[in-house]
């Protein structure tokens, strides 16, 4: 990774994670984008490239992503792109765009409203239309198959899963954007009924509406406008086959590869913000990234505390950058995921 120009995060902002936002997506994106730009210490007109991540299926309208651009500013014209993916991949595109060297700042944002639709009906539509969509197989069902496979091989216990939920919710007490937080007793959590066996409610992420924005800059620009830039030392993403039946769901080779290429193992990791939407996935990700017990996992509470689809991965970048810029950490890993049961994974190493 040493051969590519270094890029830094110089600004970030998030909306709260709401169960049901009253505002429209462009309306709640509006202050988030303004805040991120203001914190970056640059002017809106200085931004050389803009990339957004959102999903029209969530919004229930074709070209809904075009409306979101109103929160960026409709005039004068800008250089802009969109990914039908989490905002973390918008950040990746912005990172690639900055490699060209002709622009020195980029804005990446992600937003989504899961509340108007029914996730269990929408997500099967992203699956193979012949064998999987007609089954109506939804994210919770696939995650339950994945958790079952782990339990059957003694790779995790239900107690460990509940402990991950309790730790995440306790950590989220310090996160003003979190939707689920508080002190929970592991045994009490385990006494709750299954939602989809072997998953209980605490193993699932909340259904959330929200947005996140991150501002990137080239090294020269970052040093000019920002006292403490957060450097992206490595970033990589990998994808696995679509058909979940052809994967060993207890592993995540795409995460392992992305982590290796991002350079996770090349130094001590202080903390990691992982997009583990289900408790058991945290353990898979830790294993694949080689994160030991000394690494603080999801100090924000992670996706189990706030899960705005299409922004939750980019939030990991914002939270990882916060750990460095505001909490004195030196080296933090950010992870985002896409597809079903950790099908596609993006890993980045951020440093002070």
């Amino acid at each position: 990774m040493g051969t590519v120009p270094e890029i830094a995060i110089i600004g970030y902002a998030q909306s709260p994670s709401w169960r049901r936002a009253e505002l429209t997506e462009p309306q709640f994106l509006f202050p988030v984008i303004s805040d991120a730009i203001e914190r970056a210490g640059i002017e809106r007109r200085d931004i050389g490239f803009t990339c957004a991540g959102s999903c029209d299926y969530l919004s229930g309208q074709t070209f809904a992503f075009v409306m979101n651009l109103e929160a960026v500013g409709a005039w004068p014209p800008i250089s802009e792109s969109h990914v039908e993916m989490d905002g973390a991949w918008a950040l990746y595109e912005a990172w690639v765009r900055l490699q060209h060297g002709d622009v020195d700042t980029a804005l990446a944002f992600g937003s989504g409203k899961s509340s108007p639709g029914t996730p269990a009906e929408i997500y099967p539509l992203q699956m193979d239309p012949y064998t999987l969509t007609p089954l109506g197989i939804d994210p919770v069902s696939i995650a339950a198959l994945q958790a079952r496979a782990m339990l059957d091989r003694n790779l995790i216990t239900e107690h460990e899963m509940a402990a991950i939920a309790a730790r995440s919710r306790a950590a989220a007490k310090g996160n003003p954007y979190a939707q689920v937080s508080g002190d929970f007793d592991v045994d009490a959590l385990l006494a709750e009924p299954y939602v989809t066996a072997p998953l209980r409610k605490h193993d699932l992420p909340p259904i959330s509406d929200g947005a996140t924005a991150v501002v990137l800059a080239t090294a020269a620009k970052a040093k000019e406008v920002c006292e403490h830039p957060v450097w992206i030392r490595g970033i990589d993403h990998r994808i696995e086959i679509h058909q979940p039946g052809m994967r060993d769901l207890t592993e995540s080779p795409s995460t392992r590869l992305a982590g290796e290429h991002a350079g996770v193992g090349e130094g001590k990791v202080d903390a990691a913000e992982l997009s583990a939407s289900f408790t058991h996935q945290e353990k898979i990700l830790r294993n694949e990234l080689g994160l030991g017990d000394d690494v603080e996992i999801n100090p924000s509470g992670g996706a189990l505390a706030a899960n705005p689809m299409m922004a939750v991965g980019l939030s990991r970048f914002a939270e990882a950058a916060r750990q460095i810029a505001e909490h004195g950490k030196h080296r933090v890993v950010a992870h985002a995921t896409s597809g079903q049961a950790l099908q596609q994974n993006l890993v980045a190493v951020l440093e002070a």
Partner: protein, 180 residues
């Protein structure tokens, strides 16, 4: 049969997704005004552009707008653009005859509504520059259930359509800047 030459078979898969989105406060207020027989918008305090329905921000100046920026709009205006739709009888199509949808630039203080229906005019006589006025549904029949957060410039359920006022047309060059 040689491999690869078998007939391709289709398979039907019908799906339906339902969405229930809360109306955001500014659109809720717009819908309430429509039921009361009024069109309202927000005027950007910086550039003066009028947005109907209000959006809660001006995307040009990137500033938020509030109830303080609310203005009552005229229910008369001029057709700035139109399209004639010739229905294809695809699944779910209810229209059978060609119909026009028009954009209307409202008289002062301004604002524009899009995809409006024209009444009392044959489709082939709809034209740019035509002066029109709103035909409101009677108060008891007004139903703004179709107004959503993304119903750009819609007055559906409250205004049935727009009919010619009989005034002379405005020359097209006077409304070029308002074409939408």
């Amino acid at each position: 049969m040689t491999k690869g030459t078998e007939p391709v078979e289709g398979m039907d898969y019908f799906m339906q997704l339902e969405y229930h989105e809360l109306l955001c406060p500014v659109v809720r207020r717009y819908a309430e005004a429509l039921r009361a027989g009024k069109l309202i918008g927000h005027r950007c305090p910086k550039c003066g552009l009028v947005y109907a329905p209000p959006r809660g921000y001006c995307p040009i100046d990137v500033i938020e707008t509030t109830d303080a920026d609310e203005v009552q709009l005229a229910d008369r205006g001029v057709v700035t653009n139109y399209t004639v739709v010739t229905p294809v009888q695809y699944y779910g199509q209810e229209e059978t005859e060609p119909f026009a949808k028009v954009s209307i630039q409202l008289d002062d203080p301004g604002g524009a509504l899009s995809l409006q229906d024209v009444l009392e005019v044959p489709v082939d006589q709809v034209r740019v520059g035509m002066r029109v006025e709103a035909v409101w549904a009677p108060p008891k029949e007004r139903d703004t259930g179709e107004i959503g957060n993304r119903s750009f410039g819609s007055a559906a359920g409250a205004i049935r359509g727009w009919r010619p006022t009989g005034e002379p047309d405005l020359p097209a060059d006077q409304i070029m800047q308002a074409a939408f």
